[in-house]
Symmetry: D2
């Protein structure tokens, strides 16, 4: 079961974003801006930046998460977000002695399937352990391991990329596990940067419509809204 912990982040994230944004269009000096901007002004500036899609200043702050208990299915999807930094526990160098794995809810809610799923995963892990004992390296033995196997990693993303990743991964079309992961990421960000956390939402909120062929119902489609 996925666990997300925010282990590091740039402090004063929202103030720094607002100060950078002000710098670009004023003759003030950055340090003055950092001292003078009131919380209300910061909030107003962030609002404006977001609504007009001027998101580059959101790159100045970043968040580092410890992510545990996700399947290799999901870690493979996750690392496709290229504007981020990942350190993943290596299956090449770390033998997986204990078995931890993820069962999709669609399977765990059907007891006869769950039993078979569990049996298969355990059998694969048993063979993995046997191969290790017989001198096969961890990097080769892992070929038998199912994608359900849990992994852990450290991920750093800046706020702009977090907003982008969430726009896709909190969408109804995302698979349940990565959606769950980003819901937990959102909760962690909200604790330390509530204004940014609030913006971690499916893309339809920013667009004002759903740009997929079919809407989940949250927003009408692009065609319904714009007429084209």
């Amino acid at each position: 079961m996925v666990q997300v912990n925010l282990i590091n982040f740039t402090p004063n994230a929202e103030l720094v974003i607002a100060a950078a944004a002000r710098l670009s269009s004023s003759s003030a000096r950055t340090r003055e801006l950092l001292e003078k901007l009131s919380p209300e002004r910061v909030d107003g500036l962030l609002c404006q930046l977001i609504s007009s899609g001027h998101l580059s200043t959101f790159e100045h702050v970043s968040f580092t998460f410890s992510i545990e208990g996700i399947s290799r299915v999901t870690s493979h999807q996750l690392v496709r977000h290229r504007l981020a930094s990942y350190t993943q526990q290596s299956q090449r160098y770390v033998p997986l002695k204990e078995l931890h794995y993820i069962t999709p809810p669609a399977i765990s809610t059907r007891s006869e399937l769950e039993a078979e799923f569990q049996r298969a995963v355990k059998a694969a892990h048993q063979l993995y352990c046997d191969m290790l004992e017989k001198g096969i390296t961890a990097e080769d033995a892992r070929y038998v391991l199912p994608s359900a196997i849990e992994t852990q990693l450290v991920m750093t993303m800046n706020a702009r990329e977090l907003m982008h990743a969430c726009s896709l991964r909190l969408c109804d079309r995302a698979q349940w596990e990565i959606l769950q992961l980003f819901e937990k990421i959102k909760v962690e960000v909200e604790k330390v940067a509530p204004r940014i956390g609030a913006e971690l939402r499916p893309k339809c909120y920013r667009l004002g419509y759903c740009d997929e062929r079919e809407s989940c119902g949250l927003f009408p489609t692009r065609e319904e809204v714009t007429g084209s």
Copy 2:
């Protein structure tokens, strides 16, 4: 078994790199340079750029490969190279009806292990098919599939990143499967851009020493060469 086909690339790759490099330090115009540079001059310029590590002009050319028959182990490693573009066959949307998988040589050369490995992979795939029939979606059923399962993808990399990726993945420390993959990539590049292809080599060639803690023997270690 991995198959690599170069399906697209920027033509005249080496001429374009040389012309761009000349542009940066001459008052000539790019189109003149493209017309006037002789093959010998191109070769000389590329040599110089490489030996002094001025590699940015190598970004102007790129290569697109169709990659088939690699395991999910290797596709997961591959997509960690972030300065490249990937389109991978989706296990969410494409049910894997036929079973194709990779057996590591360390396993396939030991017949008793291979038999068990094969049995386990086939059993997992059988359960996968059963789950599909019982209404589980492909995206959920795949949790049971082993990492050995083959995947295919299209990858585009520019020449600079190719050189970087090869510097790591053609190193003796890389796992056999990704090393094989990049050996085939090198062969494909050599056919259309021999000077670039020749530079797709482990990092020790460029460094003049091995910077890992232990050398495979190809080059002496940094300490042996530089004394520190």
Copy 3:
């Protein structure tokens, strides 16, 4: 006056994009797809990808331009697009013996201002030449050169980033010179990849509304369209 020449590009751009997109959701092999997809099917696939914002396959093709006759004002803006490759003529190593510079239309259309502008630019260039003669290096002498001075560069961008850059730089809010530059880039792309060229448009076309605070009139604002 800006001149843009497409000096290199990945051939069959639109076919490759469509084939990659098909690969991701079918069990076909890439090479089969490259052979079988009809021009109409390619067109339909590109349409679909664009309307749903699934743009990653557009990264598989890239375009290399020779850009001449832009001011340093514009080259400084241009290189802020980070997902691209640039080789710029160096003011450190190349002495600018001939004077070429850009006069903004707002100045060139007012003859008394234009005369003063011209005089100032020429005086600065004269001092630059004097300093070179007196032994100042080009890299230091250039501090006196105005931003109007022309530069040339080679730029490579993939189709996805080109679409993104155009969404901003063909917007009415962009400055006239960089807008002109991207209009010429669009013309060049249209010659070899008409479907992609047609998509090089201000962001309002994709959004269906203007997301800036005030619209230029081409599209109504987000609020007018979505009600929020």
Copy 4:
């Protein structure tokens, strides 16, 4: 005159890097590692990572600088480092009423040249102000401004890219102004992350030789060290 202030950074930078590195090759959990790693162990791990060139974990920490008093010459060079985030004071929206500019030492040390340089810069700025008064916009009037004009920006870089940028910009071949800038950046980093700060050095330190055609003398050339 360049001023650099570190206005934000990820705290506990070195501990986080070391913990991420340990995660990748152990079965420990990230949070345990963050609690247990002693300062000596952190130091040892960082040393090892650097000497073997395994730098990806250095991406997990970043530094945000306020940079003031650099010329447009140097800001144009700086933003060429693409793996970083910049917010620059806009010459489009901010009229430069006060004149601040950089004089290269090679010019300021020759009084007759300095006088002419100053006169030229002041004349250009005067014309700029006149044009503003006559209704020319700041974005167009700036074409007459010399490259010596000061700008300010906010820059965020992660530690890996900082090490890379310094490897080039602290090299003797870099121009004096950007070299000065990165020397000040190094001083700022050293205050909060001394181990990382110490690694902000020209590339020859990491290589063990100079890979340029001619060495400044700090290290022997590649050929002298490796024999090829």
